[in-house]
């Protein structure tokens, strides 16, 4: 299992490093930009926006330090960076089946479930690295921008934890897709589709009350970084939902792998 884990990490560390740096720079820029804006002006601007645009902030008070910095973690750019790694790494098993790499590995006494389990573990480790990049950017911003001094570094760590869980659910959905796909492209399609639909449902639920019940099935509904920063406490309900979804999808991926055919 360690060999497969190391193999996956070796194949994906470059893109992980690039995405971690990108997320770090993004969160740092978000933090640094807070010093150059007037809080009242932001509040007025946000209040004057139509609901469709206000929904991008997920109802957070973006004028406050915690709301502003938290919105940076829920920003589509930040979500896309983490989801990109989750999807691309979780699609590796399907790509390996497609290109015959899995055939070489699994013609050895390696149980397919352990092979997939190692991929899931590698994905979790690599996602942690990317989220850590975002956390580092946020922490540097908090320590260097006086207006953000009220933001608790501990709260940022909790935001990073929930961001990691959200990314894990995307990765686990992709992994489940990879377990039933014969091509990497299809697995990527399933993972990206899951992320886009989840984001769209959460967004539409905020701007259209009819969609509210459907918003509850979106994993992004349970990712509220501004609230976590404001309270500096882990939202146990949201955390449990995200953790349960990630575990359930990973378990599904393992169960499907045990039943699938592993040759191209």
């Amino acid at each position: 299992m360690r060999v497969v884990l190391a193999l996956t990490v070796a194949r994906a560390w470059r893109r992980t490093l690039a995405l971690a740096l990108a997320l770090m720079v993004f969160e740092l820029l978000v933090g640094l930009s807070y010093a150059s804006v007037d809080q009242n002006q932001i509040r007025q601007v946000v209040e004057s926006l139509p609901p469709a645009l206000r929904a991008l902030a997920s109802g957070a008070d973006v004028a406050s330090p915690s709301g502003y910095l938290g919105t940076g973690f829920a920003h589509p750019v930040a979500l896309t960076l983490a989801a990109a790694l989750a999807v691309s790494v979780a699609a590796i098993p399907a790509r390996d089946v497609e290109h015959g790499v899995a055939e070489v590995l699994l013609a050895r006494p390696l149980a397919p479930v352990r092979w997939m389990g190692a991929q899931a573990l590698a994905m979790a480790i690599l996602l942690a690295a990317v989220v850590a990049g975002g956390l580092a950017g946020g922490l540097v911003a908090v320590w260097t921008v006086d207006d953000l001094a009220s933001v608790s570094p501990g709260g940022l760590v909790l935001v990073a934890l929930t961001a990691w869980l959200v990314a894990l659910t995307i990765g686990a959905a992709t992994l489940a897709g990879a377990a039933v796909s014969r091509t990497g492209g299809r697995a990527i399609g399933i993972g990206a589709g899951f992320a886009v639909v989840a984001y769209a449902l959460n967004y539409l639920a905020q701007v259209w009350t009819v969609m509210d019940p459907l918003g509850r099935i979106s994993v992004y509904r349970y990712f509220r970084p501004a609230e976590v920063l404001r309270e500096a406490a882990l939202p146990w309900g949201d955390t449990l939902v995200l953790g349960a979804v990630a575990v359930a999808l990973t378990a599904a991926a393992l169960a499907l792998t045990a039943r699938r055919e592993l040759a191209p």
Binding site: V3, A102, E103
Partner: protein, 303 residues
């Protein structure tokens, strides 16, 4: 001692409805060298994948080294070295890392690696390069090393000489012959009849997912019709050497007779020995002829 490979009624129908393998019964005993012949799409690769548990059979069963697959798949694979026909390697890794990682996934130590690297002319400098920089032949060599480095009791190779130059092909066959002499079982698929002819004790031929025949190479050669040309010292009646197997059609041109002879050549040679013969030319029976005869005949069944 359990059979190296024991397939019984092995059948695979793909979800598309294509029959990959249709009721194949095949037993390969320990220490045998068996060539698995067939045209593209005949079912050779499907058979190997079913045997290794990479595909699930629609019907039938298979065991490797006495371990039923998939029930005891891990135990079965612990004794197998496998080279896929369409070799997939992680392109970002170096050759050395590839061999090391794959070796760690096998319970047997890679005791033969250095000897194989030498035999297949894969120097250390090449192993330091990334797989994506390898030529097809080098990838194939790396694939062979990963399959054979553990000195597995059962060697399963899907078209092992593909991409190798003739010198390397010869070295590989020599290596496999050496392992067979050491008691290892060699089972490999090929379209190249000459290498099967050279290495194998037995041949299994498949077409359209069906096993057409399983025979020893000797038996096939003996059963094969040969062209014979005999030049006698004086005009001779064909009845003088007509034994079982000699064809009815004898072309006589002066003292030279041309005819066909099937089966064991012993009685014919004995009959000719009683006559005054100046020259005899017997075209050697070639596996290729059997192969062609089978595959060019619709539904040809020579078993």
């Amino acid at each position: 001692m359990p059979s190296a490979i024991h397939a019984s009624g092995l059948t695979k129908v793909f979800p598309s409805g294509v029959v990959g393998l249709d009721g194949v019964d095949l037993v390969v005993e320990p220490g045998e060298r068996v060539g698995f012949l067939g045209p593209n799409g005949a079912g050779k690769t499907t058979f190997m994948r079913l045997a290794l548990g990479l595909l699930r059979p629609t019907a039938g069963s298979v065991s490797l080294l006495g371990h039923p697959v998939p029930a005891e798949r891990m135990a079965a694979l612990a004794g197998v070295g496998f080279l896929p026909g369409d070799l997939g390697l992680v392109r970002e890794l170096t050759g050395r890392r590839t061999l090391d990682d794959l070796a760690r996934l096998h319970p047997r130590p890679p005791a033969l690696r250095d000897a194989l690297l030498t035999a297949l002319d894969l120097p250390d400098a090449a192993l330091r390069r990334r797989v994506r920089e390898y030529s097809r032949g080098m990838r194939q060599k790396l694939g062979l090393v990963q399959a054979l480095q553990h000195d597995p009791p059962l060697i399963m190779l899907d078209e092992p000489t593909a991409g190798l130059d003739p010198v390397m092909q010869a070295r590989l066959l020599e290596w496999l012959e050496g392992r067979a002499r050491a008691g290892r079982t060699v089972f490999f698929s090929s379209h190249v009849l000459a290498e099967v002819d050279e290495l194998c004790d037995r041949v299994a031929m498949v077409r359209g997912g069906r096993l057409l025949l399983v025979r020893s190479v000797q038996e096939i050669r003996r059963a094969r019709v040969r062209s014979v040309q005999v030049t006698f010292a004086r005009p001779t009646d064909p009845a003088a050497y007509r034994v079982e197997g000699v064809g009815d059609q004898v072309a006589v041109s002066g003292v030279t007779h041309r005819f066909t002879a099937a089966g064991d050549p012993g009685p014919l040679l004995a009959a000719l020995g009683r006559l005054e013969v100046r020259d005899v030319a017997v075209e050697p029976a070639r596996l290729e002829d059997v192969f062609r005869a089978l595959y060019l005949t619709p539904g040809g069944d020579a078993s």
